[in-house]
Symmetry: C2
Subunit: 283 residues, 2 copies
């Protein structure tokens, strides 16, 4: 199958770089209907072709690339299937292998074939920073789309679910340990021993204070969507018979930080500690 | 009050170095009754005076120093109180602030005063590696005992519970993140993506593979006593209104590794992964 047109759902901060990484002359189309002003600006800047509606996008596309918050990934696949899309559905989201297989089933219900993906790294602006892992029978059709781009596509040569599993295990440490570190700093604050902890860290764990500051600065504005990802990771461990509590707790921590959505990067660790110690309304 | 004799309970791997750090001419006594051959050898090597029974030790001591696995700390305080010990009871164990206060109450029931302690670092063999944090009214009486020794005593000048809180928050990351990392490596193995994860770590998290290997090597033989410490840390976070799941999960992981007790350091990460994926009998 030749992929001449890719439908990008949606050009968020990560998605726009994935779309931009698709090699010429493959056409990248998207649907501006219902999208934010920020997303429209990003898509226009990248030169994607706006077809207005999801229906128009799926009708025009040989492959659809889903890049969205994990909690919306399955619903998006169902919406796409409802348009009768029968091309290649590539889910590149941070979901558990089990959710990936649900998404595969939803896509198949519309007639599409499925490729499982997982993106590791920041938005792919500079080459060498970001990987798109792919698995499933049709992965080999997708990888060449990103040849020589800032988004390195790696075909795991494994069944659907593997790329998602890899993403879960990777993010489970980076984002999970950030939540753990911030929660412990909050606990030290609650018990009045934060200075003592920072003093001990300075002596025996020299990177940790800076790491906690950086975790607060970068994670807090994105915490609203990390919570869903942590639940997916918890389910990934649970399904393998491993303890799921690390990431259920991380999800709870990130839910408490959801109020920082929209803040620029650089939220102070003191603000994050205060938010962690004040459970969300109704919690 | 002058402390002329310290009762050491017990000369385990950590305890023996704490006893050895007590400055001359303060006498260090212990009770060999019921202790292992290994502990006897350690105590003899350190030159502690063996008084045979706990009763003899508490009768002879102005202060008692408790260094034992966290799950035994409260029972030990109760046993000491039952001997009528009315000196200074120093609990240096990895327990939650709430457990520390229970230990304080148990010690007080026998007539003793209480000092809360928490040890951070490896057994204090070389100076500069290990701190004994102290809190509570009588902390200032204990700190000078360790002057110019390999075990640096730091009086937090805070109420009882603070030293335990500091220890919990510190170990909550070191041992908690080790359990997290090993659990995620086990998950990757379960999903058949361990090579992929190691490949991605090599590119973007260059320390993590080595860290997982080191965590397996050093934590597995001690996991049998880490489980109780993780439960204490979970309770510490819970009492502060923070998510406790990180450390409940870490406890569960360490319980699965309890079978490595007695192994020399250097357990292979593959063995640890296999043990994590095979829940303990009856679990």
């Amino acid at each position: 199958m030749t992929i001449a047109t890719v439908g990008l759902l949606h050009p968020g901060a990560m998605g726009v770089t994935a779309g931009a990484a698709v090699r010429e002359p493959v056409r990248v189309v998207w649907a501006s209907g219902g999208r934010s002003r920020e997303t429209r600006a990003r898509a226009a800047g990248a030169g994607f072709e706006d077809l207005g509606t999801l229906e128009a996008v799926t009708a025009a596309s040989d492959a659809v690339l889903s890049v969205c918050p994990p909690h919306g990934a399955l619903a998006l696949a169902e919406t796409v299937a409802a348009t009768g899309f029968d091309g290649l559905y590539v889910d590149a989201n941070a979901v558990s292998p089990a959710t990936a297989l649900e998404i595969a089933a939803a896509a198949a219900a519309g007639g599409a074939r499925f490729v499982d993906g997982g993106i590791v790294g920041p938005p792919a602006i500079r080459p060498g920073t970001t990987r798109l892992y792919l698995s499933g029978d049709a992965a080999a059709e997708v990888a060449p789309l990103f040849e020589d781009s800032a988004l390195e596509a790696i075909d795991l040569d494994a069944k659907a679910g593997a790329a998602s599993a890899l993403k879960m295990c990777y993010a489970g440490f980076t984002k999970g340990s950030a939540a753990l570190l911030l929660s412990l700093r909050a606990a030290a604050s609650a018990y009045g021993v934060e200075d003592g902890l920072l003093g001990e860290w300075a002596r025996s764990q020299p990177g940790l204070e800076k790491r906690s500051v950086r975790a607060a600065a970068t994670a807090a504005p994105k915490a609203w969507r990390f919570a869903g990802e942590m639940e997916e990771i918890a389910s990934t461990l649970e399904a393998a018979g491993l303890p799921d509590g690390f990431h259920r707790a991380a999800a709870e921590a990130y839910v408490r930080l959801a109020g920082f959505r929209g803040e620029p990067e650089g939220v102070a660790v003191e603000e994050v500690v205060a938010a962690l110690l004040k459970p969300a309304d109704g919690a």
